[in-house]
């Protein structure tokens, strides 16, 4: 039996590790099987340096047509599952065709890799970075090993960051003016603002601010849009009268937000919106949605 099992087992172990693996930040990543693992975190323009260790099983020899390592940036659309679009693909040959008898270590280095997009796990789309080691073989399938890693890109505070200010209303029913202090927020930012009631002729019950994420995938007629509400934050309880001004202070840190992604490789976009919702006593909802730009501020 042992023999049989051995026949299906991979003839060798492949281990991919990063040179600075111990000191590098680790972040959780949700895998396809639902498990969350901790993986290394990189950002664009970083050099990805490490080594691949290949260790054949108990003295077996592995014959191969060459060993290579690839760094892939892939987008996977779920309606087209299994079909990866590689927007980045770098290859390093690790070994010329030959045979492996014993454990062998291959250092590798991708220097200053351009990784313009962040890792993203959405409803309909996934963007991931992997290192893929392939041992090419004749007649039998190649031996492949993957190592995920996460890319996050930091941006400096935007030089122009206007407030969002707007007057909206339903004629002769409700007129409000709202203001959010910025249009671009980093992920740990605080939204400060106020809602000013110019005219209130309906009996309001409460008011809340929602943070919504809109993910659109595909293009043209095949566009899929998925909207999620990530946060519901009550701003006001009761019915205000004309002239009332309600403060807004919403800390973003408790929510799982990511930066805004615009038209990533023409495949998908992820945008964020602030949705101000007023609810009246009959539970009718009046709302106004405003896009905000999220960015990842380099933590210092």
């Amino acid at each position: 039996m042992n023999y049989l099992i051995g026949a299906f087992k991979l003839p060798c172990n492949i281990c991919i590790s990063f040179a600075d693996g111990k000191s590098r930040n680790q972040v959780p990543l949700k895998k396809e099987n639902g498990k969350t693992v901790m993986v290394a975190l990189f950002q664009s323009q970083e050099s990805i340096v490490g080594e691949v260790v290949i260790e054949p099983m108990h003295g077996k020899k592995v014959e191969h047509n060459g060993v290579k390592i690839e760094l892939l940036g892939q987008i996977e659309l779920y309606f087209d599952r299994g079909n990866f679009y590689d927007f980045t693909s770098l290859v390093r040959e690790l070994d010329v065709p030959g045979e492996l008898y014993e454990r062998k270590t291959y250092p590798f280095e991708f220097s200053t890799v351009e990784m313009p997009y962040e890792s993203y796990n959405g409803v309909n789309v996934r963007l991931r970075y992997i290192l893929k080691v392939t041992i090419s073989r004749n007649y039998v399938s190649n031996i492949v090993e993957y190592q995920d890693f996460v890319v996050r890109n930091y941006t400096p505070p935007p030089s122009i960051n206007n407030s969002i200010k707007m007057e909206v209303g339903i004629e002769d029913c409700l007129h409000i003016e709202f203001e959010y202090n910025k249009s671009k927020y980093h992920l740990k930012d605080v939204i400060i603002g106020k809602i000013y009631f110019l005219l209130v002729r309906i009996k309001l019950k409460n008011m809340e601010l929602e943070i919504r994420r809109r993910e659109s995938t595909g293009s043209g007629p095949n566009t899929y849009v998925e909207t999620e509400t990530l946060a519901k934050f009550e701003l006001m309880d009761g019915a205000p009268v004309r002239g009332e001004s309600i403060p807004v202070r919403l800390f973003l840190s408790p929510y799982e937000l990511a930066p805004t992604y615009r038209n990533i490789s023409n495949k998908f976009s992820v945008k964020y919106y602030l949705n101000l919702v007023l609810v009246d006593e009959e539970d009718r909802r009046y709302f106004k949605q405003q896009e905000i730009t999220m960015y990842r501020l380099l933590e210092t």
Binding site: A231, K232, M236, D237, G238, A239
Partner: protein, 790 residues
């Protein structure tokens, strides 16, 4: 329906409490295990129970108090948490992650309290943030309670001067700013309640609002406790800001309550110094606000303040408190044209009390108030409203109580003018009050002018006022009133006869118009008062008045004659007769024979013409006899005429026994002990014999009519008269006459036809005992009695 509502509410409250306790339990567990995350989670859930809209404020309060207790524990925990190294700033952010606003803000206030205590940020910044964030609660009841919680946790953490949280130079301003802002927001929420919900529940809403008012008022109380507010600051910013809010909220309930609050919580000294500002707000209030009560309380407070120490009085003068109040009242009345007259009077009444306390020496102020009141009352006619008249009585009584002296009140020229607006009934009440005040204080009213003024005031009692219906007057009440007038007349006195005479004339002038019902009450005291004056003059041997117009007894008697005459016209002949006799006796003492004679003439005329009742005649004739007996002023001729008349009338009484008694009484007219010229023994005997004859006739008549003789009482009485004159030495009365009389009585008593009369027997027996006694006593009298056999 309503009962169901109450029951449902109980259920909701019970459910709320249960939910609260359950989450509190988990919160406690989290606190015990120092689990901040869970503590926040469960405390937020616990506080979510306060999001209910189903409870009335009363029940909501119950729920709130439970949450409040729990929050104290949470606050302790937060404090410990910071001691364990948790940054308070982080904590302050962390609680703001809560998705529901109400729990979030309760938690924020709780952490805020710890934040201020940590002094990591200036108290003013934290407070400002809290009070701003609380704007998120626009629901009136929930907002009021939340802000009340904020006020509660912050009251010992204000950056007041001298507090450990004191900030920079403007620290008190910051403290005030915070409290004022919270106050303003709370008031807005409170007022808003009035306009929410269906109109039919207005009453219920108003009740609920009044249950919540102290939450709002508490802020003013906190404000008043801020040490850093000095007079200037109060004057320049605090008061104007508060008043601005009060005026602008345009809500009746709020304005009434808050004005009252302002008056109650801030020191009197401040009120005095800011009268302009404070009073300036009153005319701007809603026309339906019960300003009179509030303003009255203000004046009451200021009055008490003035009374508290004499040192503060100059302040009142300096700020011209009276003028300002007076002015303000005028404006308020102008601004509220619908104010009932009761309100107007109440206001003036309070102002009057104020000025009486504060400026007791300024009668002109009091008069001014009354004048303003008159002005307001004019054109309204008599007051019909019960409460209003009561208030006027209070208004008018105030000066009396204060000065304890009607004389001072009489100096108030507007006083009687106010009285004119009272209806008859109240006018009487007021008059009674005035008289009682005089009685109580034994006020001396000693000039004719004042008497004139006084009677002008109490004319409600003195005469029938126009259009008054007397039928409804209770007899006893009427007597009571008139008796008090009579007492008042007796009190009027001046040692100076001249002035006293004027007083009498004045009183007379007033009371003569009183009509037939009053005169019997008012004339006698006037007569006696006059007679007192007569006796006073009589005491002065020489007539001190040389001039023609001086007061002489004669003049007084003339006046008296006319006065008493009015009684005979109404008619009250018995009373008039008595008074004539009194006057006659006084004239007798003054040696004015013609005057005395005249009075007797009047008395006899009355007897003849007016007194027809037989009982009244008996009384009258005995009075006449008695008075006449004491007269010494008459000459023989006049005396004869009068005694003749008296004897004649005596014998003409209806019943024999009455005749008999009157006749034997007449015997005294001929024998006056201290008058030597009146000792006519013969006529005495004649009288007594005549009496005997009448007694005999009476016996016979009785025998004829009833078959039995009457009592021997008359005989015994006559016997006693005999004995009297016997003792006095009347030579016509001798032993034989007495002896025969005794026998007569004895025979009569033994006769079969006599009616036994134990009283008469006893009378006779004691008469005989008297004779025996005199005999035994011996002496001249004893000897005289000796021959008599009993």
């Amino acid at each position: 329906m309503i009962a169901d509502g109450v029951e449902d509410e109980e259920k909701w409250l019970a459910a709320g409490i249960a939910g609260l306790q359950q989450n509190a339990f988990y919160m406690h567990r989290a606190l015990d295990s120092n689990n901040l995350r869970d503590a926040l989670k469960y405390s937020a859930q616990m506080l979510s129970e306060l999001r209910t809209s189903r409870l009335s404020p009363h029940k909501y309060y119950e729920l709130y108090m439970r949450a409040f207790d729990e929050l104290r524990k949470l606050e302790m925990f937060f404090k410990e948490e910071t001691r364990r190294g948790c940054s308070i700033v982080d904590l302050y952010e962390l609680v703001q992650h809560a998705g529901n606003i109400l729990p979030r803000l309760y938690l924020l206030c709780t952490v805020g309290s710890v934040y201020i205590k940590s002094k990591e940020a200036p108290a003013k910044d934290v407070l400002k943030d809290l009070v701003e964030m609380c704007r998120g609660i626009q629901h009136p009841v929930r907002g009021l309670f939340l802000r009340s919680y904020l006020a509660q946790v912050s009251r010992d953490k204000l950056p007041d001067i001298g507090s450990e949280y004191e900030g920079d130079a403007d620290t008190a301003v910051d403290a005030v700013e915070f409290v004022l802002q919270n106050f303003t927001e709370m008031n807005k929420l409170w007022v808003r309640m009035q306009h929410q919900g269906p109109a039919r529940e207005k009453e219920k809403r108003e009740k609920e609002r009044s249950e919540l008012r102290d939450l709002v008022g508490k802020n003013l109380h906190v404000l008043s406790q801020i040490e850093g507010i000095d007079l200037d600051m109060y004057k320049d910013s605090v008061l104007p800001r508060v008043l601005e809010q009060v005026v602008n909220c345009k809500d009746e309930i709020a304005q009434y309550y808050l004005m009252d609050c302002i008056i109650q919580v801030f020191p009197d000294e401040y009120h005095l110094q800011t009268l302009d500002v404070l009073l300036g707000a009153f005319p701007q209030l809603q026309p339906t606000v019960d300003i009179k009560t509030v303003l009255s309380r203000l004046m009451e407070r200021l009055s008490n303040y003035a009374a508290s120490s004499a040192d503060v009085l100059p302040e009142f003068l300096q700020v011209e408190a009276f003028a300002k109040l007076n002015n303000a009242i005028g404006k308020v009345i102008e601004a509220q044209p619908d104010m009932p007259i009761l309100g107007v009077i109440t206001l003036y009444s309070s102002l009057l009390t104020f000025t009486l306390h504060v400026h007791p020496d300024r009668l002109d102020y009091a008069d001014q108030v009354l004048g303003a009141c008159v002005k307001k009352l004019s054109g309204k006619g008599k007051l019909e409203e019960n409460k209003a008249t009561k208030q006027i009585v209070a208004l008018l009584s105030a000066p009396l109580d204060k000065y304890n002296d009607i004389v001072t009140a009489l100096k108030l020229s507007n006083y009687p003018r106010v009285l004119e607006y009272l209806d008859t009934e109240t006018n009487k009440v007021m008059s009674t009050v005035i008289i009682q005040s005089i009685m109580k204080n034994k006020t001396r009213i000693s000039t004719a002018d004042r008497v004139e003024a006084l009677f002008e005031l109490i004319k409600g009692l003195i005469k029938d006022l126009d259009g008054a219906v007397l039928d409804e007057v209770d007899e006893d009440d009427f007597k009571e009133e008139q008796n008090s007038v009579a007492r008042l007349i007796q009190l009027l006195h001046n040692d100076e006869p001249e002035e006293m005479f004027k007083i009498i004339c004045t009183v007379r002038k007033h009371i003569l118009g009183g009509g037939p019902k009053r005169l019997p009450f008012t004339v006698p005291p006037l007569v006696f008062s006059s007679l007192k004056l007569v006796r006073q003059l009589q005491g002065q041997e020489e007539n001190p008045f040389g001039e023609e117009e001086s007061t002489t007894p004669k003049k007084i008697f003339q006046l008296l004659n006319q006065t008493v005459e009015t009684l005979s016209n109404i008619p009250a002949p018995e009373l008039a007769l008595q008074l004539y006799l009194q006057c006659a006796e006084a004239a007798n003492d003054c040696d004015l024979e013609p005057v005395a004679y005249e009075f007797f003439t009047q008395a006899f005329i009355l007897y003849e013409e007016e007194i027809s009742d037989s009982r009244a005649q008996i009384t009258a004739i005995h009075l006449i006899i008695g008075t006449l007996q004491r007269m010494h002023v008459f000459g023989v001729e006049n005396r004869d005429t009068l005694t003749h008349k008296a004897t004649g009338y005596s014998a003409k009484l209806l019943k024999k026994p009455d005749q008999c008694r009157a006749v034997y009484a007449c015997s005294h007219l001929f024998w006056v002990d201290d008058q030597d010229n009146v000792k006519d023994g013969e006529r005495v005997l004649l009288c007594l014999k005549r009496a005997l004859r009448i007694a005999n006739a009476a016996q016979q008549m009785s025998n004829a009519a009833r078959g039995s003789t009457g009592s021997v009482t008359l005989f015994v009485e006559i016997l006693n008269k005999y004995l009297y004159f016997f003792e006095k030495g009347n030579p016509q009365i001798n032993v034989a006459a007495i002896q025969s009389l005794i026998e007569l009585v004895t025979t009569e008593m033994q006769s079969d036809s006599s009616t036994p009369d134990p009283a008469a027997d006893a009378f006779f027996a004691s008469t005989l005992r008297y004779i025996e006694f005199q005999k035994q006593k011996g002496g001249a009298l004893g000897e005289k009695y000796e021959p008599i056999k009993a």
